[in-house]
């Protein structure tokens, strides 16, 4: 034993030592003064060195007892070791939050933003954790539905890769440091009216932010406010067409005949949810109400084209000519004779149909079309008397409607010229998303002080001095306006996950005279000036409803001062290019948009509605063009456009116009986060500011490399095999009127008693679902909603490529027509959840009875019992079962745990899972109804896929109740069971597609009548 090893140095009590030495007799040996003094420390040391009860070992009786005790305590230690619970502090609420009942979610109204425009949402909150987003039925742009990005917003909040700290040149700094730096910089600018200050925002509809900007610009009159929205709407084109800044509202519910000029109105744009609802409402109950008719002209396959009655693929340069021809045929001012070829008949037929429905027709030009096309659409609408009927022009909604491309170009020019000293980027990622010719990243280098506010430490943050983590809209106060001007006050659902998060409001306040104000105060103080009467009551009402009732903005600010110009006559822009030269089409990605959602795994893994690609973008070519150029799926080609090149894998897409290559923006991110980095290629690198959406002169050359793309659905060529199977059943209105029974009879319907097992009687509820293929637009929001609701993991690119995606509901896409003739090609969509077969093939073969039937007809999967033989999946003819081949669920990331729905089991490796008809929602409704002492009402249970559906194509309910909505739909002649000939007796059935083609356009493009899925 060392002298003092392990013994803390203590002052030795020498007098004590003396006393003890005095008390002993004979020679006493001691090793240290501590020992001699018998200090407590020494005794403890001794005790530790020689374990307590060690002396017992010498005593036979004591030893036995010792061993007994030790044995028992070891056993007990072992037992507790098996299930060691983490230490938790239980603290009761002193004052529980209002209405917070554990297990019962609360819903709060706020809004999600689509290019700055609000779409109302209700956020489900479990004890303070937002877990799921639903649409706000009271909001005009939502009507209770959301789009795919809205569903993924909640994942965006919890994204572990979100920026978490305020940094200066990469080093962590305090907010006060930032404020000091701003004070210095702006203080220097102030005497010069802020001539070197530029503020770059995204499209802004927020009245509060607009007021703040005005205030700041009043302080610094020479400063400039720029806006950049990579996939901006058509406000600039509308302004030219109408002659003043205006918002356009389309009323599809009033339109009998619709001509879409490359407008993907059912999924794209701030009003898409409403458009989809209104458009499909006119296609429900065919035969009972007159159906509308949609002609879609498009330069790349869109969902609108897929659901149209007639679809005409044109090269981008031909669209304007087509519009001009229609205008001419209808009788508008800037018309021109119809071009030759297939479009000739089209023009005549469309024009005739439009003219026959003056005032009840609608021509809509897409957001990515030139001002000329918008002008022509406006002309036709005006001529037909649609303006004021189906097309309504209102006051602009954006705080400052500008052509954001021009705005960004001006900023880039200023930066290059060294006129910008302070650049403040409030949201957005221009360093990534700016067109290549602006060379924005290089231009940024010339700015002395660069500030970036963003959710991620992205490409722009990397080029900025200051980076401020942005508060996610679900954790901050703000406001926004919908497409029709309705304002929503956005309220936080949770305190910011990271302390240094700030909103644009707070950053702007820091730049101004009242620096340290909280977002809540800024927003509330603004609305105090706006709402008359009892402010507190109106404020609370607005927060509760998710819309600010009875408010119109004061006619002030930059928007109104823009004044009215004369409408610009639509001049011919680009001449149609010769066939054989390639044209390029740029579009925001169907799932991750302009790249802002690149790090959201839900959206990366969501199959793109038409291509069914995941985790990648591609150069989309028509099969004919691909064959002609000698390229196949996955061949990497070099795209050379205006002197810039990018390498892209090829994907052949039936329906794509020949000699036209579509590339999607949003991929090729380098600083998106762990999920988004390295996925796809960056199409911005060949995009230019003068022709942001399409252009001619693309060159394509093979590189010899290949890239295996992760496609969630097999190659399109197999789809010819789908046709005789009658999976998608499609008839025309005339056929349906003539022979309504024909749909059911397309395949055999075995009698109900054709089974060895006794028929089961479902006495109580019998849950069932009806999916209307005539309403489904293929948007895939149901898939993301299901992912969010049911804790479905993201598996990643490699696993999708292997065919192991986990989605419980998928949207099957089939093509009809001849792939080599793009004008004949049509896409069809079929959402496919579990069919909940009454004769479920999966149940019979499970050896351990892990999948069994409930007495209400649900096909239940018991995760705890499942051992994972996968026999059920093999035997499922619908292949809706999903197996956890590996540990797909993230069990570790703390923020992701917050997102999980506490009502749904989180599945681990080795078990099968599948759609449950949202059994947790059924049980919630059952409990509520039971507590209220009443039966469950029809419509009270909304499955996640149903509630998100913009077109109400999915209806769920009790098929034992003849009055339920689902029973009524199943009683329609259109109702059919998918693979019903197998006698699986699915509870999910489909309503057939009914198309309304123009009889004058029958022929190769008159598709509905030709095709029976």
């Amino acid at each position: 034993m060392s002298e003092t090893g392990g013994v803390p140095a203590v002052r030795v009590d020498l007098s004590g030592v003396r006393r003890r030495l005095d008390g002993t007799q004979g020679r006493t040996y001691w090793k240290s003064l501590e020992e001699l003094a018998q200090t407590p420390e020494f005794l403890e040391f001794l005790h530790r060195e020689f374990p307590a009860q060690a002396s017992e070992l010498d005593d036979p009786r004591g030893r036995r007892e010792f061993l007994t005790l030790m044995g028992a305590s070891l056993a007990l230690a072992g037992l507790t070791g098996c299930t060691k619970q983490p230490e938790e502090k239980i603290v009761p609420y002193v004052q529980p939050p209002e209405q917070a009942v554990p297990g019962k979610p609360l819903f709060f109204a706020t809004a999600m933003l689509d290019r700055g425009y609000a779409k109302g949402i209700l956020v489900e909150s479990h004890l303070g954790r937002p877990t799921k987003i639903e649409g706000n039925p009271d909001h005009p742009a939502s009507l209770g539905a959301t789009d795919i990005s809205g569903q993924a917003w909640v994942l965006g909040l919890y994204d572990p890769d979100r920026s978490q700290t305020l940094t200066y040149r990469g080093e962590i700094r305090a907010w006060t440091d930032f404020m000091a730096a701003m004070r210095n910089a702006l203080g220097a600018q102030k005497p010069r009216q802020g001539v070197g200050v530029r503020i770059l925002t995204e499209s802004v509809t927020s009245p509060t932010l607009a007021a703040q900007m005005r205030e700041l610009l009043a302080e610094l009159p020479a400063a400039k406010w720029h806006q950049w929205e990579p996939a901006a709407g058509a406000s600039a084109a509308t302004r030219q067409a109408v002659g003043r800044p205006a918002s356009v509202q389309y009323h599809f519910d009033r339109a009998d005949v619709i001509l879409s000029l490359e407008a993907d109105f059912v999924v794209d744009g701030p009003a898409s949810l409403r458009h989809a609802r209104e458009y499909t409402a006119r296609r429900k109950r065919p035969g009972e109400q007159p159906m509308n008719r949609l002609y879609a002209v498009e330069s790349t396959p869109t969902l609108t084209g897929a659901i149209a009655d007639h679809r005409l693929p044109l090269r981008p340069s031909e669209i304007e000519g087509f519009a001009r021809a229609v205008a001419g045929a209808v009788g508008g001012g800037s018309g021109a004779p119809a071009p030759s070829g297939v479009t000739g008949d089209w023009v005549a037929a469309v024009a005739k149909d439009l003219k026959a429905h003056g005032g009840r027709s609608l021509v809509i030009a897409g957001d990515y079309q030139s001002p000329a096309v918008h002008g022509l659409a406006h002309e036709i609408n005006q001529f037909l008397g649609n303006v004021g009927q189906t097309v309504v022009y209102g006051a602009p909604v954006e705080a400052q409607p500008v052509d954001t491309m021009a705005s960004l170009a001006e900023l880039a020019a200023d930066m290059k010229a060294g006129r910008v000293e302070v650049l403040i980027v409030l949201g957005g990622n221009p360093a990534y998303s700016a067109p290549a010719d602006l060379d924005f990243a290089a231009a940024m280098d010339r700015v002395k002080l660069r500030v970036h506010l963003g959710l991620y430490a992205d490409e722009t943050a990397a080029l900025s001095h200051w980076h401020i983590p942005q508060a996610h809209p679900l954790e901050a106060w703000s406001d926004a306006r919908a497409y029709d001007g309705t304002a929503t006050i956005m309220q936080p659902l949770i305190a910011p996950l990271y302390d240094s998060c700030r909103t644009a409001h707070e950053v702007l306040a820091a730049l101004g005279s009242k620096p340290d104000r909280k977002g809540h105060d800024i927003v509330k103080d603004f609305w105090r000036t706006q709402l008359s009467g009892d402010f507190d009551a109106r404020w609370r009402r607005s927060l509760h409803d998710g819309v600010v009732a009875g408010w119109t903005p004061a006619a002030s600010g930059p928007a109104a001062s823009a004044g009215a110009d004369a409408p610009v006559a639509p001049r011919p822009s680009a001449p149609a290019t010769a066939p054989g030269t390639l044209e390029i089409v740029f579009r925001p990605d169907p799932t991750i948009g302009d790249g802002r959602y690149a790090n959201l795994g839900w959206l990366q893994e969501l199959p793109k509605p038409i291509t069914k690609l995941t985790w990648d973008n591609a150069a989309l070519l028509s099969p004919a063009t691909a064959q002609q150029r000698g390229v196949e799926n996955g061949d990497v080609v070099e795209l050379r456009y205006r002197g810039r090149t990018v390498k892209a894998p090829v994907w052949t897409l039936p329906g794509q116009p020949d000699d036209t290559v579509t590339v999607h923006l949003g991929y090729g991110r380098t600083r998106a986060g762990r999920v988004g980095d390295g996925a796809g290629f960056d199409a911005n690198r060949i995009r230019t500011s003068d022709a942001p959406w399409s252009g001619a002169g693309l060159e394509l050359s093979k590189t010899g490399e290949t890239r295996a793309l992760a496609c969630a659905q097999d190659h399109w060529s197999i789809d010819q095999n789908a046709e005789p199977r009658h999976l998608i059943r499609s008839v025309t209105v005339e056929e349906y009127a003539k022979e309504p029974e024909a749909i059911k009879e397309m395949a055999e319907n075995p009698p109900r008693d054709m089974t060895l097992y006794p028929n089961v009687k479902y006495a109580g509820h019998a849950w069932g679902m009806s999916i209307d293929l005539n309403s489904c637009v293929g948007c895939s929001a149901c898939v993301v909603a299901c992912v969010a609701e049911n804790n479905i993991p993201v598996v990643g690119r490699e696993q999708v490529a292997k065919g192991r995606e986990m989605h419980w509901i998928r949207v099957d896409r089939y093509f009809s027509g001849a792939p080599q003739h793009s004008e004949t090609v049509r896409a069809h969509f079929q959402p496919l959840p579990c069919m909940h077969c009454e004769n479920a093939p999966c149940e019979q073969v499970c050896p351990v009875a892990a999948t069994v039937h409930s007495d209400e007809g649900l096909n239940d999967q018991v995760y705890n019992r499942c051992i994972g033989t996968r026999y059920c999946s093999n035997n499922c003819p619908y292949k809706v079962r999903r197996f956890n081949f590996l540990l797909y669920q993230d069990w570790n990331t703390p923020t992701l745990k917050l997102q999980r729905n506490p009502d749904v089991s989180v599945r681990s490796r080795g078990v099968m899972e599948k759609c449950t008809y949202c059994v947790q929602r059924i049980e919630q409704a059952r409990i509520t109804a039971h507590n209220d002492g009443r039966p469950i009402r029809d419509g009270e249970i909304q499955t996640a896929c149903q509630s998100v559906c913009p077109t109400q194509a999915i209806v769920f309910g009790d098929i034992n109740d003849p009055g339920s909505a689902v029973s009524k739909l199943k009683a329609e002649h259109r109702d059919y069971a998918l693979l019903g000939e197998l006698n699986t007796r699915p509870r999910t059935t489909y309503l057939a597609e009914v198309k309304n083609p123009n009889p004058e356009l029958a022929g190769p493009a008159g598709e509905g009548s030709e095709h029976h899925g």
């Binding site: 197999i718 292997k802 089939y814 073969v845 499970c846 051992i867 026999y871 079962r881």
Partner: protein, 486 residues
């Protein structure tokens, strides 16, 4: 030597071994009964009880183990360890290391399970059915065919146990009283499989072991190694070769043969139910049970030949496993191969004649789809190659038979691939179609089971009599003489 076990009907006086040898040499043709010509073909001339015992037991008891045995064992053992590594990684990581996906939920796992189980069929068939049918030519091949059966079943057993997502819960497949109050789902063919395969494994093991008891006693008596004496002594279970022993033994053996006989039919029938009960086009066919049983016997005999031909060469057992044996096995292969070919034909015909578009597509997809090479290779291996067995020169040539057997081994593997993978990968909804590609771990597990098989087999040929000594002695001409006289 004096107390070594004797055949069931021991001659009252010692066999006239010298006389027999001499007779065959033609020295004293008049004094000895000339053996039946057919019997003659099953055992090379010149053997008596002593030479048979000596020859077979010496393989086990010889002092110097041949170098090739060590080489072969080392390679097999190394490959078996690949299986060990694969299994560890599988349990650690999950089924996802294999290539399965949606829609192909089963691939190499069930494929190889069926392949191995099929191989295992020949053993029981040879032991039980041929015994009951008094096919004496079975005698020299039944022992190692039974061993092969056991080892193949062991290899097969690896798969169903490990192919589940959570293999540690496999015991839920057994009906045992439990606190969950749950039985397995008796409607599921996988449960039938559990019973069929476990019964088969048990009965095969019993049959094999019971057959070994007299031979263990022989080894016990002949070895000079104390340790071996103990081990073989324990395994011999006190066998002394008394008449009562032989009497009980014969009864037991016959009963076991009776028990095992239905298993030959039932196991692969039940295995075929895994598919036939499913509704997948390409699985859901009434022809499956007979077609699978025939396929199994076909595969089993191919594997017996694959093992027998090199073995008889290496150990110089041409005397015991004669050309006659090889030819008979060739004939069985030809017959079962024709049944299998008929099965393929009926599948194709059924696809066309059923008028069912899913069936029709299935067969078209097999022949012309992305896995068409597998289908046509299967036809070459299992339909074309056995046709050479019509030719007597091929049937009686070890090399020719070995080549045919190898084709069959591959062909039967392909058959299961075609049935399982190509049926699953494109079933009802084209939207869910996919492709299956085996991964490195699929291969390593498969190759590893081959290592396990050969490891066990090498141990078997080294430490146990690979040919039944006592049964061989019953076909020694001397024994035949007695029987005919009696």
């Amino acid at each position: 030597m004096a107390d070594h076990p004797l055949p069931p009907t021991p001659p009252e006086k010692p066999p006239l071994s010298a006389d027999v040898s001499a007779a065959i040499r033609g020295e004293q043709p008049t004094t000895v009964h000339v053996p039946h010509p057919e019997m003659h073909a099953l055992l090379a001339p010149g053997h008596d009880f002593a030479t048979v015992t000596e020859k077979i037991s010496s393989i086990v008891l010889q002092k110097g183990t041949p170098l090739w045995w060590f080489a072969g064992f080392a390679v097999s053992f190394a490959v078996m360890n690949v299986l060990l590594v694969s299994i560890c990684y599988l349990v650690f990581k999950g089924i996802g290391i294999w290539g399965e996906n949606e829609p192909v939920g089963w691939a190499f796992d069930i494929l190889n399970f069926v392949w191995w189980i099929g191989i295992g069929h020949a053993g029981t068939l040879i032991s039980a059915i041929l015994l009951l049918l008094r096919q004496e030519w079975r005698t020299s091949i039944n022992r190692f065919a039974e061993a092969m059966t056991l080892f193949a079943v062991a290899c097969a057993g690896v798969y169903p146990a490990l192919h589940t997502g959570r293999p540690w819960l496999d015991y839920w497949l057994f009906p045992y009283p439990n606190t969950m109050g749950l039985w397995p789902n008796f409607r599921s063919p996988l449960i039938w499989d559990v019973f069929a395969v476990s019964t088969y494994a048990t009965v095969s093991a019993l049959f094999w072991f019971v057959g070994l008891i007299p031979d263990f006693a022989t080894l016990r008596d002949r070895t000079s190694n104390r340790f071996a004496q103990h081990i073989y002594g324990m395994l011999a279970m006190g066998w002394r070769g008394s008449a009562r022993h032989w009497h009980n033994y014969d009864t037991a053996y016959l009963l076991l043969a009776g028990l095992a006989t239905p298993l030959v039919i039932s196991v692969h029938t039940v295995v075929s139910f895994d598919f036939a009960v499913g509704i997948v086009p390409g699985w859901h066919a009434t022809i499956f049970p007979p077609y699978f049983v025939a396929g199994a016997i076909y595969a089993g005999f191919a594997m017996v030949l694959t093992l027998a031909i090199p073995l008889r060469k290496l150990y110089g057992l041409e005397d015991f496993i004669t050309t006659k044996h090889l030819e008979n096995m060739g004939k069985v292969m030809l017959a079962t191969g024709l049944i299998v070919a008929y099965g393929y034909m009926m599948e194709a015909f059924g696809g066309y004649y059923s008028g069912n578009q899913f069936e029709a597509f299935m067969i078209k997809n097999r022949m012309l789809g992305p896995y068409k090479h597998f289908y046509w290779a299967l036809i070459v291996c299992n339909v074309i190659s056995p046709q050479f067995l019509w030719i007597k020169n091929v049937r009686t040539s070890a090399v020719g038979l070995f080549i045919c057997a190898m084709f069959t081994n591959v062909g039967m593997w392909l058959e299961r691939f075609v049935i399982i993978v190509t049926s699953l990968h494109r079933d009802f909804l084209p939207s869910s179609w996919g492709m299956y590609h085996p991964t490195m771990w699929d291969w390593s597990t498969f190759i590893g089971t081959i290592g396990l098989f050969f490891t066990l087999f090498f141990l078997f040929v080294r430490f146990m009599p690979m040919i039944s000594i006592f049964e061989m002695r019953t076909i020694v001409p001397a024994a035949e003489v007695r029987e005919e006289q009696a």
